[in-house]
Every structure is written in C-alpha cells, then in structure tokens.
C-alpha cells in the first residue's frame, strides 16, 4: 500500500501544512493569520496520529481477543500539543484584541502606516 494513493493521509498533511503556512505569510488580517497558524498546527497533529496508526489495529485495550493495536503514544502526545495550540491561539487572540484597542484596525499594513516599525 506504499503507493501514492495509499499514503493519502500524508498528502492531506502536506496540503494542510502548506495552506496554513501560505495563509500566515500572505494575509494582512491578523485574525486570518491566527487561523492560518491553526491550520498549520493541525496538520502536524494529523501527521502524529497517522504515524501511530497500525492498519487493522484496535484501540490499545488489554484483551486476549486483540493482538494488533494502534500505538497510543502519538495520540497522547498530540493531546498535549493541542492544548499548547489552544493556548497559543488564546494568547494570539488576546494580543489581537489589544492591538485593535490601540490601533482600531487589525490590518497589518494599516498598523504599519500608523507606527512604521523599522
């Protein structure tokens, strides 16, 4: 199954990763940047889950009926990474709110016009 189609999970990961990254780079709106950052991080979560998946494996439950099970560690790691992602989004949105209060805009170029950062 190591064909191009068999690895479709990884193609989705790469597509999402590039989409998120592109949004972060190209958008001027700070909220859209945060959304891009989220998509970028989500693609990595998907990648970790894919790494742990064993084809035909069940959930890791101790039972004599099941011998093949999926590696639970990546899923657990990703729970932590999701929490980190949520925290990052929270801090980012809080900053955007403060920026809006200070500049009355969340467009990057309008902030630049008001306060040119060298």
């Amino acid at each position: 199954m190591n064909t191009v189609l068999g690895l479709y999970n990884y193609w989705i990961v790469i597509f999402l990763m590039m989409t998120g990254f592109y949004i972060v780079i190209s958008r001027e709106n700070l909220i859209k940047k945060v959304i891009g950052l989220n998509i970028f991080q989500t693609s990595v979560f998907l990648m970790y889950i894919t790494i742990g998946k064993v084809r035909g494996g069940t959930a890791p439950i101790v039972s004599e009926e099941f011998t093949l099970y999926t590696n639970p560690l990546p899923s657990v790691l990703i729970l932590t990474a999701i929490v980190v992602g949520v925290a990052t989004t929270a801090v980012a949105l809080a900053l955007v709110v403060r920026i809006y209060e200070a500049y009355e805009t969340i467009q990057e170029y309008e902030i630049q016009e008001q306060d040119p950062l060298p």
């Binding site: 972060v24 950052l37 970028f40 990474a81 925290a87 990052t88 980012a92 900053l95 990057e108 950062l117």
Partner: protein, 493 residues
C-alpha cells in the same frame, strides 16, 4: 534525601511559585515572593552543578518510570552550566525588577508579571534539564508563550504588534521543531534523547531523517534568531519593558543555542550533522554574514535598546560560529560565549533600564551628557560595551580568543581576520554612545536626570562585575565550557 530530588525541584519551585503569585495578588507581597523563588531556584542550580562536578551525569526518572518509557531529566556539565546562568540571571533581574516595574508596569498587572516571569523561567530551565524530546517541546512553548505576554506588557503600543510578530514566527519555529521531533519518533520509536541517539541509523541516510534534520535546523534557527531569521528580535526587544528585555536577551536565545547543541551533538551526532549533512557549511557563512550585517545595522540605530538588540543578533553569530568549527576549541568558544554574552547583555540592558527610569527615553539624542549625571550607570554601560568589543580583561575577550584560536587551528585565517574586523564594528556602535554620553553638552532630559537608585544599580553592577571577574579568572567559566565541549564531542551524553 534532597540531593536525590534536585533535578525535579529545579523545575517545580518556579512552576509552583507562578500560580501562587496569582493567588497572593498583592503587588509588594508577590514581588518579594517571586524574588525569593528565583533565588531558591538559583541555589538549587548551584547545588546541582556541584553534584554534577563531583559525581558526573545526574539522572532523574519522573514518577519512577524507567528511562526510555518515562520522562527522564538528565543533567550533564552543559545542562548544569546553562541551568546555573539562566537561573542566576533570572534571580538578579528579578531583584532589579521592583523599582523598574514601578515606572513601567501598572500596579494591578504586577502580580501577573511576576507569575509570567516565573513561568518563562520554568520553561527555559526545563529545556535545559530534560532528556525527553517531547518534554523539550512543551517547555519551549511554555517559555515562548510567557515571553510573548511579557513583551506585550511594554509601555508603548508598538509592543503589541512586536509581540504578535514574535508569536507568529515563534509558533512557526516551534511547530517546525515539533514536525522534526515527530519524524524522528517515526524513525526510532523513542523520544528519549540518549535512546534515540543509539537507535538512529544514519549510515544509509534515510530520507525521513534528512527531512527531520532540516525541519529541526530551521525551527531552532528561527528560535535563536540566527541571521536571516532574526526579524522578530529587534522589535520584540526594543519595545518590551526593560526588565523583560534584560531577562530575555540574556537567556532566551542562549537556551535555543543549547537546543541546537543538543540536537547536533547528542542526538544526531557530529558525523551526521557536519559530514553527511553540510550544516557547518551553512551555519558558518550565515553566522559571519549575520555578525557583519547586524553590527552594521546597529551602528545606524538611534534607539539604543534597538541598537543593543541588533548587537544581540550579531553575538548569536559568534556562538553559532563557534559551534560550526566542530572542534573542541571552537565549541568551548561558542559555549563560553553563551555565558559571557548573557552577562554582558544582561548588564547592558539593566543599565538601559536605569536610563529609562531617570531619562524616560532611550533615544541617543536624549542621552547627551548623561555620563556626568548618571556616572555609575554609564560606567556599567561602558564596561559592558567594552565586553561587546572584546577588550582584554572583559569576558568578550575570552570568547573571541577561543574563536580566533579555533579558526587558526583549522588554518581558516580569513575567518579569524573577519572576527577581528567585526570587533571594529562593535567599537563603532559602542563609541557612538560613549561619545554622546560623555563629550556632549547635557540634553534637557539629561540635566534633569539623577543617578539611578541603589536597588537597580547593585544588580546591574553584579552582572557587569561578573563580566570583569570571569574575564580575569577564566578557569571557572571556560573550564566548565571546555568540559561540556569535550562531553559533546566525545559521543552521546
């Protein structure tokens, strides 16, 4: 009993102290408590270094789970050295904070500042102590998220976009590191650094490992502000409160350099990083270009905090240059410069904090004649500046001495010449300030200024004094650095 649990106490003390600060709330009480917590953390780091020096590598299994399964804390000479100077600077800067905060941070936010500061310290120490890659990522994010918040506390509104810019770049860097760690886990099935190093089959150059190496290199370079990935740094440092700038400039980028050292030498091994992959051939030119471009840009800054921030980018170049030699002398130079630069920049930014307090400005025009009004502050600034140039008797000289020696060992004399020439650029930007501060008629603001209070001068002079002390007695800092370098080159940790 307590010796056994030193590694975990090192992390637990600041981590528990942070939420306690939020519970205490009362500004004065919290500040005192935070200072105490920082000094206890520093004391633990001293004990830990002592333990490492006498008994060798100290390991600690979290929750009693044995190493490859559970999270392991692993303290060797390099970790202990980083822990020591990060916690030391954390404690000194925190002792300086109360007076500086009074003028820069609103009273109802001070307890939050203390909590965030302690969290940031926890994250930085955690990175240095952990032997587990995923744990490293978590600590990296703890320190990063708290530093975005700290920077956003800056008085001017530009601090907010600067913090946001840092958040975007920092998150991209951390996510790159996460991708790299994931790919490495895919190849080895372990997250423990030592275990991974022994399982990694590098000989046939599997593509997944190569990609992981690429993601990690770029991610870490972003975090340590290696030229040309440094764009977040000048704004973040220029607009953050003085205390925050001093703390982050002295510790955050150094810890990122530590992550690079760990990955290159302890996980991948020097053979893979520098022979199979041309990391040294990439790092060395970037380091040299970074030194020259950032030093030149620094010369043209009118905001002195921003000037010092650009100088930081240049100094990162020296550390990376030392690493890229991949020899024991070069590595010693890189590691000792981490420590030396932490002292110099910490001291310089603390002196800037005194100037902000009395002058209310960091513009070079307002600093005219300040040398006569604030003699002790400016004297500290000048000694720190001499360190940046690399004048003998200061620590900067020691770093450059090792770097030039390492270049000559390899017969790369153009590199040695470039390092010497770059010192001239540092001389130019330091001299600009000295000339304005001592040889110009006082500006309006300067003539109204008076010497900074002792509670700020003493911490400043402790750091600046340390740059002189370690410049004269090199055996302590350079000795530990050489030992760490030997350990890194000698194989797995």
């Amino acid at each position: 009993m307590i010796e056994q649990h030193l590694p975990i106490l090192q992390i637990i003390v600041p981590l528990i102290a942070a939420p306690l600060c939020v519970l205490l709330r009362h500004a004065k009480l919290v500040t005192g408590f935070a200072i105490l917590a920082c000094w206890v953390t520093f004391g633990l780091a001293v004990l830990l270094l002592d333990q490492v020096v006498t008994t060798g590598v100290v390991t600690y299994e979290l929750g009693g789970w044995a190493a490859p399964w559970g999270i392991e804390y692993r303290v060797d000479a390099l970790s202990a050295f980083v822990l020591l100077f990060v916690s030391g600077i954390g404690a000194i800067v925190m002792s300086y904070a109360p007076r500086s905060m009074a003028s820069e941070i609103a009273e109802h936010r001070r307890y939050l500042f203390c909590a965030t500061y302690l969290l940031c310290l926890t994250g930085l120490l955690g990175i240095a102590i952990t032997g587990d890659l995923f744990n490293l990522f978590v600590f990296l994010e703890i320190s990063a998220l708290s530093s975005y918040t700290l920077i956003a506390l800056g008085g001017k509104r530009q601090a907010l976009p600067a913090a946001f810019q840092y958040l975007v770049m920092g998150t991209i860097g951390a996510t790159f590191i996460l991708i790299g760690i994931g790919l490495m886990y895919m190849m080895t099935g372990t997250l423990n650094m030592a275990d991974m190093a022994s399982r990694l089959e590098l000989a046939d150059g599997v593509r997944t490992t190569l990609v992981a190496f690429g993601f990690l290199s770029v991610g870490i370079s972003l975090k340590m502000a290696l030229f040309p990935l440094h764009l977040w740094l000048p704004n973040a440092y220029a607009f953050a409160p003085s205390v925050v700038t001093a703390f982050l400039a002295a510790t955050a980028t150094k810890v990122s350099v530590y992550i690079l050292l760990r990955f290159v030498f302890s996980v991948f091994g020097i053979g893979f990083a520098f022979e199979t992959m041309p990391l040294d051939a990439i790092l060395m030119p970037l380091a040299l270009i970074g030194i020259f471009v950032a030093s030149t840009v620094a010369i043209f800054q009118s905001d002195i905090k921003r000037m010092l921030a650009y100088s930081s980018v240049a100094q990162i170049g020296y550390m990376v240059l030392g690493i890229s030699f991949a020899s024991i002398t070069g590595l010693t130079g890189g590691i000792v410069h981490m420590f030396n630069h932490a002292l110099m920049k910490g001291g310089l930014f603390l002196a800037m904090g005194c100037i902000v307090l009395r002058l209310g400005s960091v513009e070079i025009d307002d600093m005219r004649g300040i040398g006569r009004r604030m003699p002790f502050t400016m004297a500290a600034w000048v000694v720190g500046g001499l360190g940046l140039i690399g004048v003998p008797v200061t620590v900067g000289f020691i770093s450059k001495w090792y770097l030039i020696q390492a270049a000559l060992e390899r017969n790369w004399w153009p590199v040695a010449v470039l390092v010497l020439m770059s010192s001239l650029l540092a001389l130019v930007y330091v001299w600009r300030v000295v000339e304005v501060a001592y040889f110009k008629e006082p500006s309006e603001r300067a003539s109204a200024a008076s010497e900074a209070p002792l509670s700020m001068l003493i911490p400043t002079w402790v750091l600046i004094g340390a740059t002189l002390f370690f410049g004269l007695s090199t055996s302590a800092s350079a000795g530990v650095a050489r030992r760490a370098a030997g350990l890194l080159l000698g194989g797995s940790p």
